[in-house]
Symmetry: C2
Subunit: 359 residues, 2 copies
DNA sequence: GGTCGTCATGTTTACGTAAACATGACTGCC
DNA sequence: GGCAGTCATGTTTACGTAAACATGACGACC
C-alpha cells in the first residue's frame, strides 16, 4: 500500500480511500492511484483489514461428513447465502465423531478467523466432551435437539414422517413398517418417533423397527428381512438411499413395488425420480435450511438478540410411483399383529414436536 | 492480551510466549498466565497473527456446485488433508458458470485471507473472462485441461473410459454406445474422446453419441432412445447417475440388464451397488485427488518449485452385475465379430472383483 | 570479589489498514 | 481584499501479535 502511494505520488490514506470507494477523491487522483494499484498488482491485506475492523466477514461451518447427502446441499446453500451477504465460509470437517476430534475442532475454531459458527453436528456429542462452546462465539445449530440452549434451524422431520405415514395409511395399508437411521442421529430418532406416533394416533399396530445406518446397503439388508414377511405391505424408510436398497431387496425377492409393497423415502434426492420405480418421498428443502442458518447467525453477529429456539423448515410429500393401495389378499389375519401391539414400548412421545417457529 | 498480562502481572510478551509454547518461561509464571487466560476467556486474535506472520494458514477452494457428486467428496478430502497440515478451508461457491460470477469469485478471492487456491472449475471459463489469476497467488486446478499453464490434479478419465469400453468389448459386444456428459465439461469430453478412441483402436464402428447433462433424468431420455435400437447391446455412460436413468429406461422398455443390454457407469457412487442391477462402473478416487491437491498447493506455498503439469490419479473398473455377454441373437451376423476379435487389445484384466457385501 | 554468562522477563517495533484529526488550497461572499 | 467555508489530501494513531533487542538478577569461575 505504501508502494502504491509512493508510485501514485499520494499518501497511503488516499490509496485506502480509493480502495474502499470513499468519496472525496478527485477523479484524476483516483485514476493515478488505480493505475499504480494495477501496475504493482496491489491487493488489500485482509488480515490487516480484519484487525482494523474487528470482523472477519467469515462464518465457520463445523460438520462431520460433507458426503452425507443433505450436508453438502446445506453447506452449499450456506455458502451461497453467506456470499450474498459478503461473508466467506470456512469449513472445519470432523472426521469421526469421537470426543478427541470434536474437541480438536473446537480448539481450532477458537483460534479461527470467524465471526460465528454453524454447527451441523449432533450436539449431544459435544455434551460428552468437556469442551463448551466458547462463550463469546455466535452459534447456530442445524439438525439437533439443542433448541433449549442454542438457536436451531432444522427440517421439520416430524411432520415429514407424519405425512409419509398418513399417505400410506390413506391408501388403505393396515400399518407401516419403518427402516430407521442410526440411533445416534437425532434426525433419525425424530423421524422414528413421528412414525410411531402417527401409527398410534391412527390406532394402528406398530411393527418392529428395522435399524439401518443411512446407507443403501443397510437398506438392502433391512429390505431382505421385510421381503420375507407377507404382512408387510408398506415401508417408510428414513432416507432415500435406504429406500433404494429396500427397492433392490424387494425386487430380488420378487415382491413388486408398488403392487405388492409400497415404499416411501425421505430427502427427495435428485436421483429419487429415477429409481425403479420412481420413489414417492418426503422433500427436504436443504437450501432453505442453509439460508435460514446464515440469516440467524448474521442477526446475532449484528447484535440482534437471538435466544434459543427451533426454526423448522417445512417438508412436503412428493408423490411418484412407489406407492399404491395394498394387494387385496395381503392381510391374512389380524391376530399376530395384534399380539405385537402391547409388546411395543410406547416410547417417548415427548420428543421435539414442532416447537414454535422463530421470527 | 494486554488484559491478561495485567491480570497475571506480566508483560504481554510473556503472555505471547505462553500462548505459543515458547521456552524460557518459568513454571510458576506460566501457570499464572494460563489462569489469567482462562479467567478472561482469552483467545488469540488470528487476524493479528496473520498480519504478523504474513500467512493465513488457509486454503481457498473455488467451485461451481458442491452438490455435484464428486465435488463434495473431493472437497471433503481437501478439507481433511488440509486440517492435518494445520490449514483451514475457505469455500467460494460460484452459482452459475457465468462470466460475471467467475469474475466476482476472483475479485473476492483477491481480497480473501488465503495462502493459495484450489480451483475445481473448468478453466476455459476463466479464459472467457478478462480476469486472470492474480500473479502472486498459488494455484492448483482440478479437473481441467489447463495442464500447460497450471499444476493440475485429476482423475485419469481417459484410462477409466478405456477400461469400460474394453471390458464391454471383451465380453463380446460388437460395439459400445455412449451417453456423454455436457459438452462444456472437460471430464465429459475426455471420457467421450477415450471411448471413441478405444472403439477405433479396436476397429469397431462408433455409434452416434447420446448427449446428457450428468443428471439421471437426462440418462433416462438417452436410455429411451437407445432402448428402441435392437442393435444396442452395450452402453457406457459418463457417470453413474445417468446410468441410473438408463437402467430405468431399459427396464420400462422391457430390455433386461444385463441379459439384453450391458451398462457401465463412471464414478462408483456409494449407491451404485444398490442399483437394479448393481452397476459395473469405473471407480474414481476422489479422496486421493483432494489429498494430492493439498500436497501440491502446500509445496508451492512452501516455496518449492511447482511448474505446470498434470498429476493423474488412476481409476479402476468395479465389476458388478450390469454387464454380461450380448444375447446370442443380438448380432445379426457373426462375421463382423469374428473379424474383429483379433483386433481387441488384451486390455487390463485387473478389474476389482465385486466387493463383498457390507455386513 | 569482580567479571562474565545465563536465563527470565520487559520494551520497542513493525506487520497493513482505516478512522480521526490536521492541513492547506481554493471558492464565494460581503 | 479579507474571511469563512468547503473540499482534497496528508498525518497520526490504534487494532493484537511476536520478533528483536534490552534489562537485570543470579550463579560460576578465576
Amino acid at each position: 500500500m505504501a508502494d502504491v502511494a509512493a508510485l501514485a505520488g499520494v499518501s497511503s490514506q488516499t490509496v485506502s480511500r480509493v480502495a474502499n470507494g470513499h468519496p472525496g477523491v478527485v477523479e484524476t487522483t483516483r485514476e493515478q492511484v488505480l493505475a499504480a494499484m494495477s501496475e504493482l498488482g496491489y491487493r488489500p491485506n485482509s488480515a490487516a483489514r480484519s484487525l482494523r475492523y474487528g470482523r472477519f466477514n467469515t462464518i465457520g461451518v463445523i460438520l462431520f461428513g460433507l458426503s452425507s447427502t443433505g450436508n453438502s446441499r446445506t453447506v452449499e446453500a450456506i455458502a451461497t447465502q453467506a456470499a450474498t451477504e459478503g461473508y466467506a465460509i470456512t469449513l472445519i470437517p470432523v472426521g469421526a465423531p469421537t470426543q478427541d476430534n470434536v474437541m480438536g475442532a473446537f480448539t481450532r475454531m477458537g483460534e479461527l478467523a470467524v465471526d460465528g459458527v454453524i454447527l451441523i453436528i449432533e450436539v449431544h456429542l459435544l455434551d460428552a466432551t468437556a469442551v463448551a462452546l466458547p462463550p463469546g462465539v455466535h452459534v447456530v445449530v442445524v439438525d439437533s435437539d439443542a433448541g433449549e440452549r442454542y438457536p436451531v434451524v432444522d427440517t421439520d422431520q416430524a411432520d415429514g414422517a407424519r405425512q409419509a405415514v398418513r399417505h400410506l395409511l390413506s391408501l388403505g395399508h393396515r400399518t407401516v413398517w419403518h427402516v430407521a437411521g442410526p440411533a445416534e442421529s437425532f434426525s433419525a430418532e425424530r423421524r422414528t418417533t413421528a412414525w410411531r406416533r402417527a401409527l398410534e394416533e391412527a390406532g394402528r399396530p406398530v411393527p418392529p423397527l428395522q435399524r439401518g445406518d443411512w446407507s443403501a446397503d443397510s437398506g438392502y439388508l433391512a429390505g431382505l428381512r421385510l421381503a420375507g414377511d407377507p404382512s408387510c405391505t408398506a415401508i417408510f424408510t428414513a432416507n432415500d438411499q435406504m429406500a433404494l436398497g429396500v427397492l433392490r431387496a424387494l425386487h430380488e425377492r420378487g415382491r413388486r413395488v408398488p403392487a405388492d409393497v409400497s415404499v416411501v423415502g425421505f430427502d427427495d434426492l435428485a436421483d429419487a425420480s429415477s429409481y425403479l420405480p420412481p420413489l414417492t418421498t418426503v422433500h427436504q428443502d436443504f437450501a432453505e435450511v442453509g439460508r435460514r442458518c446464515v440469516e440467524a447467525l448474521l442477526r446475532q453477529i449484528h447484535d440482534e438478540p437471538a435466544g434459543p429456539g427451533t426454526d423448522l423448515v417445512p417438508t412436503r410429500l412428493v408423490l411418484r410411483d412407489s406407492t399404491a393401495p395394498p394387494p387385496p389378499t395381503a392381510e391374512p389375519a389380524a391376530e399376530p399383529t395384534e399380539i405385537l401391539i402391547p409388546a411395543i414400548p410406547p416410547g417417548p412421545t415427548t420428543a421435539a414436536e414442532s416447537p414454535a417457529a422463530l421470527t
